[in-house]
Amino acid sequence: SQKIEQNSEALNIQEGKTATLTCNYTNYSPAYLQWYRQDPGRGPVFLLLIRENEKEKRKERLKVTFDTTLKQSLFHITASQPADSATYLCALINQAGTALIFGKGTTLSVSS
């Protein structure tokens, strides 16, 4: 069955450093991969979508890569700030193409 893994439950870094989050998937060949941010007590908010034919996508300080051979996506936040502290979720469309399935998320804490 489809499986999405975000290897780290928690990641602690210092302000100004680059945060790198990992998403791996198995038994699956998605055409798209999405990243969401979730703050405590709030719903997930869409950040970026990357297609299988795109190696890399950028948005301001965010960068996402998608390696279909390794079945992996990396999510980078450069020049991290305390305001970037949140849980980041990787999401893929299910095989039926009817809904997103999510990884368990990585909680990022950026200390000043």
Binding site: A31, Y32, Q34, G41, R42, G43, P44, V45, F46, L49, R51, T87, L89, A91, I93, N94, A96, G97, T98, A99, L100, I101, F102, K104, G105
Partner: protein, 115 residues
């Protein structure tokens, strides 16, 4: 204007009761979803509706039933509530059937506590 709104934000109820959570989206989207986020923060799909048609149902007990009076609303009814139903329930919507190449918009969540 809130794109996806759900009410109530908090719901505390006793075991055995029946309750409903309402969801409305003003984005003109075709598809709406219900997700459950458990105590371990794992977000799992429960239902989705496309043009009033249920298109998925992921091993959810039949005590849970989605009701969609129109394209902008997808309410969640839960009968005979159990302790294990305590979780945060999120409503979401997307522009087209499935979310293959479009983002999903989520409500703020309803924290259900069954005592």
């Amino acid at each position: 204007d809130t794109a996806v709104s759900q009410t109530p934000k908090y719901l505390v109820t006793q075991m055995g009761n029946d309750k409903s959570i309402k969801c409305e989206q003003n984005l003109g989207h075709d598809t709406m979803y219900w997700y459950k986020q458990d105590s371990k923060k794992f977000l799992k799909i429960m239902f989705s509706y496309n043009n009033k048609e249920l298109i998925i149902n992921e091993t959810v007990p039949n005590r849970f039933s989605p009701k969609s009076p129109d394209k902008a609303h997808l309410n969640l009814h839960i009968n005979s509530l159990e302790l294990g139903d305590s979780a945060v329930y999120f409503c979401a919507s997307s522009l087209i059937r499935g979310v293959m190449n479009t983002e999903a918009f989520f409500g703020q969540g309803t924290r259900l506590t069954v005592v």
